[in-house]
């Protein structure tokens, strides 16, 4: 079985609140001294794939793919250290705020170039923008079915059995490959810690580097029919104010208090 896992490198979500800054003009978060990490849901997806391969007695090949800045190579190297078999990076140096549709188009083109895959996995959403769009749009671009919020994948006689989290419980879905799944976290897919030996080896493994141009994608083609735009980006200001309501008697105070509540809620 051929599995492809998409990984996104994001700003460390654990960056302390007071260190977090946004560049309002460029409409994106500033990196500052924070580190770049692999999105946790993408790591859950990779862990799910690794376990699938283990259950299959190793009879599966796992390719990891990322689209991002050159630094995203680190995320791919770490995936190799976790024992993914192959890695590819589409280097995107453009400054534009990433539009999930444009990203999905790049990923789809890369996937078509890399080969035929039975199972394509993404995280359910990324910890930076949290749009949760890329997986579904990728399926659309590839013309494949998509199952979202999956936490367990099993293979049974050429059919994929997928366990999907919903608000009401779980759904068990059988799907014939190829299929795209978006993975959510579960106690069983906590990403493993790579062995140090494998971390060292990961830097000696080949890593395919592509550009959108290699994939025949112009900037225009990627952005066509874009529906998603970041209009403004700011950190909400938290304000605490304390008013004392006046009144001579208790009744007056309660009255003034109620009026004040109405005023404040109307203003919001």
């Amino acid at each position: 079985m051929n599995i492809l896992v998409c990984l996104k490198q994001i700003l460390d979500p654990e960056v302390p609140a007071r260190d977090f800054r946004v560049d309002a003009a460029r409409r994106e978060a500033e990196q500052g001294s924070a580190s770049l990490v692999t999105n946790i849901f993408c790591e859950n997806a990779l862990e799910t794939a690794l376990q699938l391969r283990e259950r299959a007695g190793g009879a599966a090949k796992i390719t990891v793919l990322s689209c991002g800045r050159p630094s995203a190579e680190d995320s791919l190297r770490k995936a190799l250290a976790m024992k993914a078999d192959a890695a590819a990076l589409v280097v995107d140096e453009s400054d534009a705020t990433p539009d999930p549709l444009a990203v999905a188009r790049v990923l789809a083109a890369a996937i078509q170039k890399l080969g035929a895959f039975d199972l394509i996995m993404t995280g359910r959403e990324a910890g930076d923008w949290g749009a949760g769009q890329t997986g579904g749009l990728l399926a659309e671009e590839l013309g494949l079915p998509c199952v979202s919020f999956v936490d367990t994948v099993e293979v049974a006689g050429g059919v994929l059995r997928l366990k999907r989290q919903t608000d009401a419980g779980w759904e068990l879905i059988e799907a014939t490959p190829p299929v795209v799944v978006t993975v959510t976290n579960d106690e069983h897919n906590v990403p493993r810690i790579p062995k140090v030996r494998d971390v060292m080896m990961s830097y000696r493994q080949p890593l395919t580097k592509l550009t959108p141009a290699d994939l025949g994608l112009s900037d225009e083609a990627r952005a066509a029919d874009g529906y998603y735009e970041v209009a403004e980006l700011f950190i909400p200001q938290k304000e605490t104010r304390c008013d004392f309501v006046a009144g001579d008697t208790l009744d007056e105070k309660v009255d003034a208090f109620a009026r004040r509540i109405v005023e404040v809620t109307r203003a919001l």
Binding site: D12, E14, R18, I193, K195, V196, R197
Partner: protein
């Protein structure tokens, strides 16, 4: 007696003994058996990895005198030290006496006469022989009546004591019966032999005495030879291995005992086979006398956990002795393969699966091979090094634990989840406190602390450390330290956001690779700013800077803040005015005290700040009891009934102190938790020594009570 007679005083060698050639004949098998025993030890040690332990011979000989000859560490346990001295010095004297006899008998010398014969060969030998017997009785009484938990109760131990006692007893009988039968004019010089002589003269006839003497002589010879032949196969081998081990000891501070890993050449990171240890590590196993002091002082063991440094050493020793061919991979663990395959040859490149044949001849994995080396036990070590400090023969228990942890972390990625979280945070963010909302400079809010390019201009770098910056309680310590430096007019700066964890937790947890990355990055940054002098409130950073960074190109003059502040007070740059004489007890941080020998500076600060109100805990200075937070253990939840910090907090509170002074951010957390876990009782504050000093030095606000 006249002087001429005294000069001729001696005794006849081999009196009443015929067929002396039998003795020489027996020497051959004795030497062969003993020699083979020693050879077997040597050949096992040689299977270890190289280690440079023969440099600086003068220092090593000094150590040998202090700890093998003078037995300074053995003597720390008064009773055991005393009887060990009786037995060991007694043996030395008896061996010299036997050598004198051999020289006169076989090499034609005439040493054994005159005053030397009377004072040494008769009186001293008699007294020391008696002391050996007293020593053996004391040892037996301790072992079998008091039964200390730290001892290992084996038949071998009983047999050794019995053998020594019987040999000495025979010696006195042989001597006594010779004196009785020959009417030795110098009998008075052998008081105990003379006692035997007098007693036998009244009980036995002259002929019986002669017969019994001859029998006892041969029996004495047989038991002594047997003992010598048996010696290399028992823990008595320590008469040879202990001095050798002391000579080859680590001469650096205890904080500098961890080995580096050569990531380019090493086939297996960390140690999971006996052959992965150095020859010195293997010698350690044979130097052990089973005295159990290491386990008795081990904080984890004291609170009832599985970890026992003694049993790690003995467990590995038994593997080496009982299953050497499997342990060193000379034969398949399942008995299938033959021939020698080294550990290195068995490790195949990652892209090739090991062949079945190689798999079969892999040396026996040692982790989990005996209960003492189970991962559960290995993950309980706080790397406090109390075991190493307690060991009379300088065995290095803690580095072996770290070696095995390295294997678990770097080769297997198998370690406690909470430690994984700390390691992952170290990798990603350069600090081990996953989930903290604090930033590196929060502590400095409102202070005018220089950072960035100013580091180059400053005379001193204040290395804050992750604990000092990111743990709220410790931010107050960092603040106090900075304010004291400010008050003393010290030109200092901090690295701020360019600071990363020193790497200590990564190294002690066993991720040497991550440690090296952090070390290189920090040293690179510090050198970029030309840093020369570093002050830090964290003993773990202090130890890493002092003992480990030099190997990564970091040559800094490093001070613990207590040392630096004490010096500022001495120089009159700080003028503390203590208000009250509170009772304060100081808890030595392992990485400052025991591992680096800094005991006095923090105590000076305590004395200054409290007008002499310091009280000591029963376990202090080099015997200090760990707070429980070292070796990555502060990131692990201990079982509620087995917490090292509570044991230490209890000890501190029982001194009656109002304040428990600490000098380490990890100790601060562990001790606050430990003191806080008590229900009811007195209110005991936990304060860093810098906070104490700042309380006594800060500008006073009118009417405001300090502390």
């Amino acid at each position: 007696m006249n002087a001429a007679a005294v000069n001729e005083a001696t005794r006849e060698i081999y009196w009443n003994v015929t067929q002396v050639w039998v003795m020489y004949a027996l020497l051959v098998p004795t030497a062969l058996v003993a020699g083979y025993g020693v050879y077997r030890h040597l050949s096992r040690w040689r299977r270890g990895q190289p280690a440079a332990r023969f440099d600086r011979p003068a220092a090593r000989v000094g150590l040998l005198f202090k700890h093998a000859v003078a037995q300074r560490r053995t003597a720390r346990d008064a009773v055991a030290g005393l009887f060990h001295a009786f037995i060991s010095y007694g043996f030395v004297v008896l061996t010299v006496a036997t050598t004198v006899v051999a020289l006169d008998a076989d090499f034609g010398t005439a040493i054994m006469r005159g005053r030397f014969y009377l004072y040494f060969q008769s009186l001293a030998v008699d007294v020391f022989g008696a002391l050996v017997m007293v020593g053996v009785l004391m040892a037996a009484a301790r072992r079998y009546l008091r039964r200390p938990r730290k001892l290992v109760h084996t038949d071998e131990a009983a047999l050794i004591l019995a053998a020594i006692f019987v040999m000495c007893l025979q010696g006195f009988l042989v001597e006594g019966w010779r004196i009785a039968a020959t009417n030795d004019p110098w009998a008075a010089w052998s008081p105990f032999g003379n006692l035997v002589a007098r007693a036998s003269q009244s009980l036995m006839g002259p002929e019986a005495i002669r017969v019994w003497h001859a029998g006892a002589w041969w029996f004495h010879l047989a038991t002594s030879f047997a003992f010598v032949a048996w010696l290399p196969y028992t823990k008595m081998m320590h008469v040879l291995t202990a001095p050798l081990n002391i000579y080859a000891a680590n001469l650096a501070p205890l904080g500098a005992t961890l080995k580096r890993v050569d990531f380019e050449r090493t086939e297996s990171f960390g140690v999971n086979t006996l052959g992965g240890f150095t020859w010195k590590d293997l010698l350690d196993l044979d130097a052990c006398t089973e005295c159990g002091r290491c386990t008795a002082v081990c904080p984890a063991n004291t609170v009832g956990k599985e970890l026992s440094p003694r049993d790690i050493i003995l467990g590995l020793r038994d593997l080496m002795h009982e299953r050497p061919r499997e342990a060193f991979g000379l034969v398949a663990s399942n008995g299938g393969g033959v021939g020698e395959v080294s550990a290195a040859a068995c490790t195949t490149p990652a892209d090739k699966e090991p062949t079945a044949d190689m798999e079969a001849r892999k040396p026996l994995p040692i982790i989990g091979a005996v209960p003492a080396t189970s991962p559960v036990a290995l993950w309980q070590c706080t790397t406090c090094a109390a075991c190493m400090e307690a060991c009379p023969v300088f065995i290095e228990q803690m580095p072996k634990i770290v070696d095995m942890r390295r294997f678990l972390v770097m080769e297997e990625a198998e370690f406690p989840d909470s430690m994984q979280e700390a390691v992952m945070s170290l990798e990603r963010r350069g600090h081990p406190f996953s989930g903290t909302q604090a930033t590196r400079m929060d502590w400095a809010e409102g202070l005018n602390v220089r950072t960035g390019a100013d580091v180059r201009e400053a005379e001193v770098l204040l290395w804050v450390g992750c604990g000092g910056a990111l743990v709220e309680r410790n931010q107050r310590v960092t603040r106090a330290t900075a304010q004291l430096l400010e008050q003393a007019g010290v030109s200092f700066a901090v690295m701020g956001r360019e600071e990363k964890c020193s790497g200590d937790p990564a190294r002690r947890i066993g991720n040497e690779f991550l440690f090296e990355q952090l070390a290189r990055e920090n040293v690179g940054n510090l050198n970029k700013y030309g840093v020369k002098k570093v002050v830090t409130a964290c003993p773990h950073c202090f130890n890493t800077f002092r003992n480990e960074y030099p190997q990564y190109g970091g040559a800094f003059e490093v001070f613990h803040h207590s040392e630096f502040l004490a010096r500022l007070v001495e120089e009159g740059r700080l003028k503390p005015v203590p208000e009250s004489g509170k009772k304060v007890t100081f808890h030595d941080p392992c990485y400052l005290g025991r591992q680096n020998g800094v005991y006095d500076a923090p105590r000076e600060l305590v004395q200054i700040s409290t007008r002499g109100g310091a009280v000591e805990m029963p376990r202090s200075r080099n015997n200090s009891f760990c707070c429980g937070g070292g070796g990555g253990m502060s990131f692990v939840d201990e079982p509620p009934d087995k917490r090292v910090n509570q044991e230490r907090a209890r000890e501190a509170v029982e001194t009656g102190a109002d304040v428990l002074a600490v000098g380490c951010p990890f100790c601060m957390t562990m001790m606050e938790d430990g003191v806080g876990a008590r229900k009811g009782g007195r209110d005991v504050k936990v304060l860093d020594v810098a906070e104490l000093l700042w309380e006594a030095s800060r500008p006073r606000e009118a009417g405001k009570q300090n502390l």
